[in-house]
Amino acid sequence: MHEMSLAMAVIGQVEEAAQRAGDVTAVRSVRLQVGELAGVVPDALSFCFELACAGTVLEGAELVTEAVPGRARCAPCAHEWAVGMPPALTCPRCGGATTELLAGRELQILSVQWEDGPTHAHPREPISEER
């Protein structure tokens, strides 16, 4: 199971982006595109993501995965089809083997939702001993 490695890669990239932005206080969610043929289990990835976010600016962030179905096009006859799982990559119409995979291998961070701007000091209620 390499989902932990992938979760850490996602976190690393979001942390870098947050650092570049400079004033990110918390990451709320991360949108990820996961292709049908990417060899990734979205549930396992979410599980690992939650664990690996602990102690980072992403702590508590939600991982939103968007599944991308595999699609292919036959170069000679231009037929397009959903490859399915397991994928059928020879053309179902002409039997051609020079297929172009149009979608399905994505493993891509699309966007991040975060809180930024100057941190507002939250004046806390004084506790009784301090009065």
């Binding site: 990239q13 979001v14 060899g39 994928p87 990559l89 291998r105 961070i109 975060w114």
Partner: protein, 256 residues
């Protein structure tokens, strides 16, 4: 304030960049990497032992790096061929990554190495996603594993430049249906070659070495459909690890 920021970054971008740099660096010194993927027990080591021995007989400078979760058994077997061998213990990690491989090669890989065989962790899921800087990716399956293996692990088989069937000496006993296996390979990776081998009976031994040498000489490789991505996306990764290289004669080992 709360805002949505477009990142549009491939998750494996860092691994792919590292792999690209590693491939270029190795190519500049004349080394070509062959990445061997299979499930545990498919006979990678047995076939590799024979290929390494043959390379030594033919005076082709080769080296092998083998990765396992535990034990140095594979490296001990491979080292009998007399070529430089290194064991990498992944401490439980299910796959190799380009950065790990690069670190393990530093100070170990002999300068004149023509071919470096990397025996990945026995696993057909995770290693499939990681480019190691190889030129030739080979997926192996033994006749005992079932003809539908390519359908069960489509990403691994779908990204192979070459598929190797092992243990054909027992094909009849296990009623291996070669035509069904080939049809299943063709479904996920149209046009890829399938080689039949038996390390024990000497069938097809040397074919892998020949293919690897041809790839090293720049012969055109099979282009898997799955590897042709219209978006040309690259990938990112980071790894946390440590290394303890201990040279032991022709055999070295390290954790990652």
């Amino acid at each position: 304030m709360c805002r949505v920021v477009d990142l549009q970054q491939a998750v494996l971008a860092k691994n792919d960049e590292t792999a690209h740099t590693l491939r270029a660096g190795l190519a500049a010194r004349g080394t070509t990497v062959v990445n061997l993927l299979s499930s545990p027990g498919s006979g990678k080591t047995a076939l590799l032992e024979r290929e390494l021995g043959l390379a030594r007989e033919r005076s082709v400078p080769v080296a092998a790096l083998t990765a396992d979760l535990a034990t140095e058994n594979d490296a001990q077997r491979l080292a009998r061929s007399g070529v430089p061998v290194k064991q990498v213990l992944t401490d439980g990690l299910c796959h190799l990554e380009a950065g790990m491989l690069g670190r393990h090669l530093e100070g170990w890989l002999p300068d004149d190495t023509r071919l470096l065989f990397v025996e990945n962790v026995g696993n057909l899921v995770c290693p499939a996603s990681y480019d190691l800087g190889e030129t030739l990716r080979v997926v192996l399956a033994s006749v005992t594993e079932g003809e539908d293996k390519p359908l069960k692990y489509p990403t691994a088989f779908g990204l192979a430049h070459l598929v190797v069937v092992t243990k054909t000496d027992i094909a009849e006993a296990v009623e291996f249906d070669e035509a069904a296996f080939r049809a299943n390979v063709e479904r996920v990776n149209p046009g890829v070659d399938v080689l039949l081998t038996s390390a024990r009976r000497d069938r097809g031994v040397g074919a892998l070495l020949d293919r690897a040498l041809a790839a090293a000489d720049g012969a055109p490789l099979h282009e898997p459909v799955m590897a042709r991505r219209p978006d040309g996306a690259s990938h990112t990764h980071r790894h946390h690890g440590h290394e303890h290289p201990h040279g032991t004669g022709a055999m070295a080992h390290s954790h990652s």
